[in-house]
Structure formats: structure tokens, C-alpha cells
């Protein structure tokens, strides 16, 4: 197994409460994982950790074989390989295009290539020609899909999806599931949370279950 | 970001436009309020400014404060009216080349009805005694100005320490005090120049007492000492002094009238 993440004795605490306690978990590159568990079981907390957005309270997180150093300089290059689609995503005030192009801009990708990639990602989520729309004027499901496009456009090594299909209509849901399933084929690691009991079976891949912060 | 930057650029552009206008040399002068409030400076300064391509910045405050600002070296020239203070200013090394510029006199103004009857007084001190005895409202400049200094001298001569609800210390310039006296129908000591400028349109008070020797009011101009404050524009200050005491300036002063009456008088050479 080509190990990408390795969590050892990871604890995440808020005050007295320990909301995540994972003693040993390895995640392989180029695989699809589904992450399930009740509300408050720690799914979002885990994804935030894997996205290098917040350090654990204790324990060691290894990425690509090396321990993660939680310093700004080290984190920037790590974060550019990973992207997290938030459970209720925040769209920047501006056009849909500007939102999707943001990550590309940060990576110095501009001009024709940027435009092409933004358009392709919009097609991927079934919103072709939405580039000029104002992000704040989209419907809930449309916002969710734009946020998905904003993550997909980066073609990251790791895609962390926190309930990406919660607000999405039936037909689009099926279409996006196809997109998600196809990603590991291109070497992308996908870790996705869901409350739909059927979804893990439909998507295949490995299932991780959390119960009050612990692996079940 | 674009709109933010745009707003910023617009502000900068506006600001630059607003400030592009000021480039010529500036002479700073602190002066008593009466030279400004009487309107004299409006006719006296422009010819000098034009001739020397300079702007005179007038800071009009009481004589006491005008001299204080000079003592701090914050102005180049002072134009005031309190001979004793002026002499002290020069003696203490803050100023040089004091020159007489002009004179007028102080008058006691008050309501037409003259409730204290001071028109019958023989001297200014007696007039003040009558006002105090009657408890008629009197407004004092209370700002250490030349007029205020003179007023205090007069109270002293009257042997009275003015106190009580009838005696109001305004802490303001000559103009505002005349306005205040008009509103309160009170007496006050004013220089004739400012009073003339206010008479009729801005005040209905009349001169109740005038013409005593002790009410003489002389104005002097003094350059701030360049030995003490090397930064002062001494040459320019001297040019100004020469101008106001020279024929051109003296002619303007003598010719300046408010409501058809002369305001200041020049010394016969």
C-alpha cells in the first residue's frame, strides 16, 4: 500500500472534551474513502486536520512519510496539495468565475489556461456558462456545486469532501457521484463524508466509521 | 479589491488636487483680534503680499497669547497693543525692532438707555465705579488681550476688584464680546476700530463714555528675535514692518474707514 497519511495517537480536544481520538489510521494514495458517523462524531474535525487547517492537540500526523510540521512555511506547500470542500461552503463575494479561479490565481496559473480550467470544472458540476453569475445570488444547491467546482479545478492530490452532495438534486447527485468515483483513477485521493447510508456502497471504496471520535 | 483600490486612488487624487495650490513663501504673524475683526488686515495685507509674493498667515488671538506665541518662536512677527507687555517682550530678548504703527482709543459701549448713567462720568475709572455700583452687566474680554489688560488697569484705578454675577469674563475676541454684549445689553470696553466696524449692522450698542487720555490705545509691531529663534523669517518680518510703518502702509491705515468713519490713526511724522 502506497501510504499517504498516517495518524498516530491523534487527539483533538476542545477544553475538557476530546472530540477526536484516533490511535492508528493509515490512508493510501489514489484511493476513495467514505467517512460516516453520527452528528458530532468528529468527521469534520478529522477532515480539517487532514487539510492541515488545524493542528491536533496531541499525537503525530504524517503525510507522504514525513511528520507534518505546523509552521507557516511548511504548511503552504502541503496545503497546496490538498483541498477541503467545507460542509457549508463559503463563496467569496464576487463572480462565480472569480471564486473558482481563486486557487489557480494563488498558484500563479493565469490567462487562457485559467479560463479553460474554470470552464471545464463548471461543466463537470453541470453549471456551464455560470462564470459571470454573482456567487451571492446562487441557490443553495448551485452554491454547493460551485464550491465543488472550485475544489475540482485545482486537481489536487487529495480532495476532502465534507458532505458535498447534501443539498444537491437527485439527477445532479448521480452525475457528481460519477465524477467523484472517476477521480482516484487519475491518482487523486478522495475522502468524503456522507449521511446517506447507501452512498458508501454505490461509490465503492473504503469506509471509515467514527463513533464519538473513535474509529469503529 | 478593485473597488477598494479605486476608492483609495480617488481619495489620493482629490487630496493632491486640494493641496496643489500652496507653494509661495509664508510669513506668520500673531496679532490681536481687533486688527482682524476691524477689517483692517483685509485691506492692509494684500498689497504687501502681492509686492513680495508672500502670504501672511494671520493668527488672531488676544495680545497676551499673541506675544506668548511669539515667545515660543512659533511666528515671525507680532502686531499687538499693550505697550507694557510689548516692552517686556523686547526686554526679555524675544523681540527686536518694535515700531509704533497706529493708534485709536478705547470706548465704553453699552445700551442706549445707559442704565448706570456713565455718560455723566468724568473719568473712565468713575464710569466703571458707576457700573459696579449699579450692578449693571459688564462683559470682560477675559483673554489677556490688550483690551483686557487695559480694562484691568482701569478697574485698578477705580479701586474695584470686579466680581459678581454682573461681571462676565467671556474669554473671547473683541468681535464675539461685542456680539455678546449686544445680546445681553451689557457694557463692555472696546477698541474704537472694532466697534466702528460693528456699529449699526452688528450691534445697537452706543458709545457711553469716551475721550479720556487714559483710554489711548497704541498698536506696535515687533519682529521676533532671530538671535533667539534662528528659524524665523527675520528679513521678511522686517520688510513687513517697513511696509506697515512706511508711507504705503500708513496711507492704507489712515484711509481705512468703517461705516464712513476712520478706525485707526497714524502718528504725524
Amino acid at each position: 500500500m502506497n501510504e499517504l497519511y498516517h495518524l498516530e495517537s491523534i487527539r483533538k480536544c476542545y477544553g475538557e472534551r476530546t472530540v477526536l481520538a484516533i490511535d492508528d489510521l493509515a490512508l493510501a494514495a489514489g484511493k476513495l474513502y467514505t467517512l460516516t458517523g453520527a452528528n458530532g462524531s468528529g468527521k469534520t474535525t478529522l477532515l480539517t486536520l487532514l487539510a492541515f487547517l488545524a493542528p491536533p492537540s496531541s499525537g503525530e500526523l504524517r503525510y507522504g512519510g514525513k511528520p507534518v510540521r505546523w509552521t507557516n512555511a511548511a504548511l503552504l506547500s502541503l496545503r497546496r496539495q490538498v483541498t477541503l470542500l467545507h460542509q457549508s461552503p463559503y463563496l467569496f463575494n464576487g463572480s462565480v468565475f472569480a471564486n473558482i479561479a481563486f486557487g489557480l490565481k494563488m498558484r500563479g496559473i493565469r490567462g487562457e489556461e485559467r479560463r479553460r480550467r474554470v470552464e471545464r470544472s463548471l461543466e463537470q458540476v453541470g453549471l456551464p456558462g455560470f462564470g459571470h453569475r454573482r456567487a451571492r445570488e446562487l441557490s443553495g444547491g448551485e452554491s454547493q456545486r460551485v464550491a465543488m467546482a472550485r475544489a475540482l479545478v485545482l486537481e489536487p492530490k487529495v480532495l476532502l469532501l465534507d458532505e458535498p452532495l447534501a443539498n444537491v438534486d437527485r439527477a445532479t447527485c448521480e452525475h457528481l457521484e460519477q465524477v467523484i468515483v472517476s477521480l482516484p483513477g487519475n491518482g487523486t485521493t478522495v475522502i468524503m463524508t456522507t449521511h446517506d447510508p447507501e452512498q458508501p456502497h454505490r461509490l465503492g471504496g473504503k469506509q471509515i466509521r467514527l463513533v464519538t471520535g473513535k474509529l469503529a | 479589491m478593485k473597488s477598494l483600490r479605486g476608492a483609495f486612488l480617488a481619495i489620493i487624487a482629490l487630496v493632491v488636487l486640494c493641496s496643489a495650490a500652496s507653494a509661495e513663501e509664508r510669513l506668520k504673524m500673531s496679532t490681536t483680534t481687533s486688527t482682524q475683526d476691524s477689517g483692517l488686515l483685509r485691506v492692509l495685507l494684500p498689497p504687501f503680499e502681492k509686492e513680495n509674493n508672500v502670504k501672511v498667515d494671520v493668527i488672531a488671538v488676544g495680545t497676551g497669547q499673541a506675544l506668548k506665541i511669539g515667545e515660543a518662536g512659533d511666528v515671525d512677527v507680532v502686531f499687538v497693543h499693550a505697550r507694557k507687555l510689548e516692552d517686556k517682550f523686547v526686554a526679555n530678548g524675544f523681540g527686536v525692532n518694535r515700531r509704533d504703527v497706529m493708534y485709536n482709543d478705547f470706548v465704553i459701549i453699552g445700551p442706549k438707555s445707559d442704565p448706570a448713567g456713565i455718560a455723566r462720568a468724568k473719568t473712565a475709572a468713575e464710569a466703571l465705579r458707576m457700573i459696579a455700583a449699579k450692578g449693571a452687566t459688564f462683559i470682560s474680554r477675559g483673554d489677556k488681550s490688550g483690551t483686557h489688560v487695559k480694562e484691568k488697569e482701569l478697574w485698578q484705578a477705580a479701586g474695584i476688584q470686579p466680581k459678581g454675577s454682573w461681571y462676565i469674563e467671556a474669554g473671547q475676541g473683541m468681535g464675539p464680546v461685542i456680539t455678546m454684549a449686544t445680546e445681553r445689553q451689557a457694557y463692555t470696553l472696546a477698541d474704537r476700530g472694532t466697534y466702528n466696524a460693528y456699529k449699526g449692522t452688528k450691534t445697537d450698542l452706543v458709545i457711553n463714555f469716551q475721550g479720556e487720555k487714559g483710554l489711548f490705545n497704541a498698536y506696535g509691531v515687533i519682529a521676533v528675535n532671530p538671535k533667539k529663534f534662528p528659524h524665523v523669517k527675520y528679513d521678511l518680518a522686517m520688510k513687513f514692518i517697513d511696509f506697515v510703518t512706511g508711507p504705503a502702509g500708513q496711507k492704507i491705515i489712515a484711509g481705512y474707514k468703517a461705516h464712513g468713519e476712520p478706525v485707526f490713526f497714524i502718528y504725524k511724522k
Binding site: 487539510a51 503552504l76 467569496f92 485545482l154 | 486640494c18 512659533d74 511666528v75 468681535g175
Partner: protein
Amino acid sequence: MGFLSDTFSTALDLIASFDPDVVNAVSTSLGVALWSILFATLAGVPAGVVVGVTEFPGKRAVITLLNTLMALPTVVVGLAVYGIISRQGPLGELGLLFTPKAMVIGQTILAIPIVANYTLGTVKGADPRIVPTALTLGAGPLQSIRQLVQELRFGIMAAVIAGFGRVVAEVGVAMMLGGNIRGYTRTMTTAIAMETGKGEFALGLALGLILMGVALLVNLFLNILQQR
């Protein structure tokens, strides 16, 4: 009645005829206030953002201090700056007293806490997802803060405008540090304060009307921005 309506029509005439005294006072007021708010923005916005997004010991004390400074009496600022820039003060050599620059210094000091505080409030009330979203999309720490500022642009503009409203309407600093020099440091407020006392009531009224117009515009802007 006659006095008021006469003054009123004289005031309107002064405005309509672009009376030089009115024009000068208005342009000095706006010019000084704009310079001040420019500097106050350059200092206050970054200060507000930094205090808002970082955690450091003594942060509460800094916030309390900023709040206190916001209520700084203008005459106290005038007094302090006067002492510093007078020829006898430490910065006396610069010869700043009784110039528009002196007023800009004083008004900048007045405006910084206001701009910083309102900016801080906007940052504290910002959506907590903004910075993590920028970070996970590959922004560096500085870029993410830039994005935060961009998202909060209306709130920050409101902070700047609030600061402008304060300085354009203040009289203490302008009077003490500017000296009310006609055509140079005489602003709308100093002219109203001094000239009205001298019986130039129409001039005062004309400037008062314009000042109210400015205040109205400022508040209109604020209102529009706060609605976004």
C-alpha cells in the same frame, strides 16, 4: 423672523456665488480631512485587521485602549500635538504649527482609533470560514488576510467614512493647530465657531449648511455600505 430669513438668503447667495471665503473654508476642510483619513486608513486598517486576526497576550488591553482612544477629546489631541510641534517642542524645527500639516497630524491621530476600531469590529464579526477557505484553496497567510480584507471591504470602507465624518466635523484640533488663518487653515468648523461670534452669521450659516450636506452624504454612504 426678518433677521433669520435675511441671513438665510444671504447664506444661500454666498454658496451659490462661490464666495471665496466659503470655497476656501470648504476646500481646506475637505483637503485636510482627506489627507488625515488617508493616513489614518494606512495605519488604522492594518492595525484593526492585525488585532482582529491574531491572538497575543494583552490583546484585551489593546482593545480597551483602542476603545478609550476613540473617545479622545479633540482639544486634548490639539494640546498634545501643540506641545510637540511648537518651536519649543521636540519637533519644533519642522515649523509645523499653524499649517494645514499640523491639522493633518492632529486629525490623523483622532481618526486612527476610529478607523482601527470599526475595522476591528468588522473583522471580529466576519464569517469564520473566510480565512480557512482561502487557506485550503492555496493562499498563503498574507494572501488569506488580503482576501479577508477584500470580503470585508464594505465594512472597512464604512470604518474609513466614519473616521472622515469625525474629522471633518471636529473643531478643536483645527482651531488649536491650524490657528484659523483665513484662506489657509480656516476650515468650515473653525470659521463657524469664530466668525459667527464676530457677527459673520451668514458666512457661518452657509458653511453650516454645507457641513450638514457633507455629514448627510457621509451618513448616506455609511447606510448604503452597512446594507451590503
